[in-house]
Amino acid sequence: MHITKKAPATQTLKAAIEIKQTDLYDFSTAKNVEKLNQFIEKPIIVSGKISEITFDKSYAFLLTSEDNVMISCKFQTDQNHLVSNYTVGQHIKIKGIYKGSLNYLILLNCIVLKNN
């Protein structure tokens, strides 16, 4: 029944945009964060250096770009075995559903992509 439907897995969704590290700062300034509003509830691809790792049923990484823009990424539980070996300082590319921003961008239902 559609009323009991869960959200689709991020693996099945095509990314609306890939934000390269060099563009991340431009998107994060107060004026330009509004430009990201068009991607709310859509899958986006981001990359950055892992600055913090937490775990509560699934992993959450805080990524920091070279311009000190922060992105919080909460992974799907099916990613636990893929992300468990990552450490602080490593670079990672992630696809997740963009939810909005506090003083950092927030992505949920994240999956790890191969880092190019």
Partner: protein, 183 residues
């Protein structure tokens, strides 16, 4: 200089009301859960992307909650929550600013205290009191508590057809783990 200025713009304005002198502690993966117990359906949603700052010296606490980060078991309920009840496009965040009464920053262990403050949801601010356990361990803090909110206080419009699915009073519980804020 310009980059630092732009970065400052990212910090919500209400964080700047904190005193410059006091040590600050930050929590970026705070957890807020709400429960609605109704006759036809119990609803639970969880948000573990909550941001909070705590300043033990001034006893101030500030919380910022991105409403779209609440996750529900059923995606349709999540849509209704954001599109109809909260109107998250118009009111993307809920905030709380308050003070912990009679808090002693020099005590280790757990203190049970009342936090007085204003909770703002959908642009409406209401004073609330929250009973919370505040635990100091090494250079970290953990604050756990719960409170109740009346749906009507924040002008949340529930369609008549769904009235028996949403409780009039919603129970909110939270758990914030703070580390020292290194700028």
């Amino acid at each position: 200089m310009y980059k630092r200025l732009c970065l400052l713009l990212l910090i919500p304005l209400w964080f700047t009301s904190f005193s410059i002198k006091g040590d600050k502690y930050i929590c970026r993966n705070g957890k807020v859960t709400f429960f609605s117990y109704a006759t036809s359906e119990n609803i639970k949603a969880e948000n573990d992307q909550v941001l909070s700052l705590f300043e033990p010296e001034t006893k101030k606490i500030a919380v910022s909650i991105l409403m779209r980060a609440f996750q529900f078991e059923k995606s349709l309920m999540q849509e209704h929550f954001n599109d109809s009840y909260i109107e998250s496009d118009i009111y993307p965040k809920a905030t709380f600013e308050g003070v912990v009464l009679n808090f002693d920053k020099d005590l280790s262990g757990t203190q049970t205290k009342i936090i007085n403050g204003d909770f703002t949801l959908r642009g409406i601010s209401k004073p609330i009191k929250i009973k919370a356990d505040i635990t100091k361990k090494s250079n970290t803090y953990e604050i756990i508590g719960e409170t109740e909110l009346n749906v009507k206080d924040y002008k949340i419009k529930v369609p008549q057809i769904l009235a028996n699915r949403i409780a009039q009073t919603v129970k909110i519980s939270f758990n914030f783990k703070y580390n020292h804020y290194e700028k």
